[in-house]
């Protein structure tokens, strides 16, 4: 089963290497990993999708916790959350095909971000299923290049993964 983990880490050099190294060393499979800054400049947030049964993922969780730079790990798989990926696709677009491609772009609420003589570059965000479907629908035209981010995710409602105390607003200092 695939699990989505949210990992808050200290923004220290080498932290990505520590996390990535841990996965490869212990034989855990990363499906995707996205990392970036957060509302707190000292903290980065990783969203890691990992494949494995419950015991494996529990080990992943505990081993991540052991890294000194890791502040918090939450497995949000079973919680309600919003998740997004972003993909950019450079698709072959002969004049005869352009209208049809643009229709698809409309349907998926994607955007055209670059137009070339023989290609269109389109961008779409969404959850994994939507992006897979979009990619599939463009396949018929021929995909020249595709780049996709890892997934980022956020809990729905008032709860957060970044703070230990979910009931308190950030203290004003």
């Amino acid at each position: 089963m695939r699990h989505t983990l949210t990992v808050m880490v200290e923004n220290n050099p080498g932290v990505l290497a520590r996390v990535a190294g841990l996965f490869s060393r212990r034989g855990f499979n990363i499906d995707s990993l996205a990392v970036g800054r957060t509302e707190n400049p000292l903290v980065s947030r990783m969203t890691i999708v990992v494949e494995g049964d419950d015991t494996t993922v529990e080990q992943v969780n505990k081993q991540l916790h052991k890294l000194v730079d890791v502040i918090k790990v939450s497995d949000i798989t079973k919680d309600a959350y919003v998740d997004r990926e972003l993909v950019m696709i450079k698709v072959y677009a002969e004049p005869s095909a352009r209208a049809e491609i643009m229709q698809l772009v409309d349907i998926f609420r994607a955007r055209i971000v670059d137009v070339g003589p023989k290609t269109l570059t389109v961008e779409v965000t969404g959850n994994e299923g939507k992006i897979d479907a979009f990619e599939l629908s463009l396949r018929t035209f021929g995909i020249k290049e595709l780049v996709r981010t890892g997934k980022i995710a956020m809990l729905r409602g008032f709860k957060t993964s970044s703070k230990n105390n979910n009931h308190k607003e950030e203290e004003v200092s």
Binding site: K62, V68, I71
Partner: protein
């Protein structure tokens, strides 16, 4: 109440002002000087190390420091010595090396400390930051190389970070599950100056080891223990590390529960106690392995279910509920299913348990196990020649089981574990997790430095001793009267044993050509004693013990003796050879 708060605030402010005054009067110091000052603040009295170009500013600062430096003859020796020092004293060991080859020579020692949870701080010089990443002379990415074998590591980028880095490094190395922490210091950082401020805070938001056991889990464990009829305690290195030996003894006696130890757990429970079953696992005693197989409750205390202990996992303690007490949550459920996990410091958790436990019901069970102990003792056949087991017995007899014993790795290590009766914690210092040949001699040096009044024996093999033999020079140099007892079988004995048992006696590359160990010892300035006949055994050990010099004893032993009993690799614990 309001005014109380105000006074507190005022007091704190006043404190800050005082501190600031001290800081203002604080001198401009180089990164290296701050390093040494910070080490002194941590109570470090000894560093084991080896100098080189990028460590020169540190060595220059060391020249004026009150910290003692032991110049080992190889950085691996320095790392193992720091390891031995730490295991013997319970205080963190510190080793120091230069960049590049100096740093990579530490790697085995760091890995060894990591596997056995030894508190250690390894300090390395590094090329100046301007040269980092350019394959500069003697540049090695040592933080990268050691990533999987350190508890944490630092690359110090500015001398102003030094004091806090050192404070954090010692905190991390010594708390929770201990382990090695590396501090890599580029030469520009050690040589440039900044205003010195003693670090008074750490910034480790992600580091919060749990020490107290969850009370509900403790209660559940107590219930399971009180109900059990056939309990066995399986005690590991965590007991020794956390100093829980007294609590362990109390619990075992209260429950009348037999106690088996892991290799690293030896000494955590008195080996001469009637409830002691000695070592468990691949080379465990029959009675310990039988007890594991038949118990209805296994209480694992500071142990990690290593494959050398469990054998075939599916048939390990098949009838038992398992309580697992460990400070490292990641150890729980890693190798074996656990029924009642308790995360916490072993000493505290055992204390919590003792408050609520009642005397056990295990009398019949205890008698059964003790009967096994009588029926299947560790044995070997006494012959005319010198038996390795008899040597360990004699060393144990003459030292009254009170020596500090280190070992190398191989058959001799297992015989030391079997035939030396360890009566106190921290007295058996061996490379368990990594199984590092060459550990014992430098470790013995670290032990003797840390415990100058103790009698130290390195039980060695003729193969292993040659892996860090150069450290004999260190022992002579610093007048450390260690005793090295080589069980000289002319073989990489443990390899030969496996070849005999599992490879049809094809002794591929396991027979040794050895130097004359006596001449070698003498060349280094140590004393050498060769022993070939049983009658010479006792007097030779007496002579070694009474010598004020380091002594190397070369015991010419039965060449093809095997370590028994033995569970073939991957087998069930109750299917033992021998």
């Amino acid at each position: 109440m309001h005014s109380n708060v105000t006074t507190k605030v005022l007091r704190r402010q006043r404190g800050n002002v005082q501190k600031r005054i001290r800081e203002v009067s604080g001198e401009q110091l180089s990164g290296a000087e701050i390093l040494l000052k910070s080490l002194e603040n941590e109570g470090v009295d000894t560093i084991f190390g080896y100098p080189g170009g990028q460590a020169l500013p540190i060595y220059d600062a060391l020249y004026d420091s009150k910290i003692r430096h032991i110049l080992c003859r190889h950085e691996q020796g320095a790392a193992h010595a720091a390891d031995g020092y730490a295991r013997a004293t319970g205080r963190p060991g510190v080793c120091l090396a230069t960049s590049g080859p100096g740093a990579t020579n530490l790697v085995t020692g760091i890995a060894n400390a990591f596997m056995d949870s030894v508190p250690m701080v390894a300090i390395t010089g590094q090329v100046p930051q301007a040269l980092l990443g350019r394959d500069s002379f003697q540049e090695a990415d040592i933080t990268g190389i050691t990533l999987p074998i350190t508890k944490h590591s630092y690359l110090v980028k500015d001398p102003s970070e030094m004091a806090q880095t050192v404070k954090e490094a010692f905190h991390i190395a010594t708390t929770g599950r201990p382990g090695p922490v590396l501090i890599d210091i580029p030469r520009d950082v050690s040589s440039s100056k900044t205003e010195y401020r003693r670090a008074d805070r750490m910034n480790l938001p992600g580091y919060r080891p749990v020490t107290d056991g969850d009370p509900l889990q403790v209660q559940e464990a107590a219930r399971a223990i009180i109900q059990s009829e056939r309990p066995v305690i399986y005690a590991g290195g965590g007991v020794v590390i956390s100093g829980a030996h007294e609590e362990l003894l109390q619990m075992a006696e209260l429950l009348m529960a037999p106690v088996c130890n892991t290799l690293l757990g030896l000494g955590g429970f008195p080996g001469d106690h009637p409830l002691s079953l000695g070592m468990v696992g691949m080379h465990g005693t029959k009675y310990a392995n039988y007890a594991i197989c038949e118990c209805d409750l296994l209480i694992a205390v500071g142990a990690r279910f290593d494959d050398r202990v469990t054998g075939k996992v599916e048939s390990f303690a098949p009838e038992a509920r398992i309580i697992h007490i460990d400070i490292d949550p990641a150890e729980i459920g890693k190798n074996v299913r656990v029924d009642i996990p308790i995360v916490g410091d072993v000493k505290r958790v055992l204390g919590q348990l003792l408050e609520i436990l009642k005397p056990g019901l295990g009398e019949a069970w205890r008698d059964k196990v003790l009967a096994w102990k009588k029926e299947y003792p560790l044995t070997y056949c006494e012959k005319d020649c010198l038996k390795p087991q008899a040597i360990i017995r004699e060393i144990c007899r003459q030292t009254d089981g009170k020596a500090m014993v280190t070992t190398e790795v191989g058959q001799h290590q297992m015989w030391a574990a079997h035939y030396y009766t360890f009566s106190k914690p921290r007295s058996f210092i061996t490379s368990g997790g990594l199984g590092t040949m060459g550990f014992g001699l430098p470790a013995a040096i670290g032990v003797q430095v840390g415990c100058p009044d103790d009698l130290v024996f390195d039980i060695a093999g003729d193969g292993s001793i040659q892996m860090n033999i150069q450290e004999l020079c260190t022992a002579v140099n610093y007048e450390l009267p260690i005793n090295v007892a080589i069980l000289d079988n002319g073989f990489l004995g443990m390899v030969r044993q496996w070849q005999e048992l599992f490879y049809n006696r094809r002794y591929s590359q396991s027979e040794l050509f050895n130097p004359d160990f006596i001449k070698l010892a003498e060349a280094y300035g140590a004393e050498g004693i060769r022993v070939s006949r049983p009658a010479e055994l006792a007097p030779a050990i007496e002579q070694a013990i009474s010598s004020s010099k380091p002594v190397m004893l070369d015991f010419i032993v039965d060449r093809e003796e095997n370590v028994l009993p033995m569970v073939p690799p991957g087998g069930a614990l109750n299917k033992m050879l021998g």
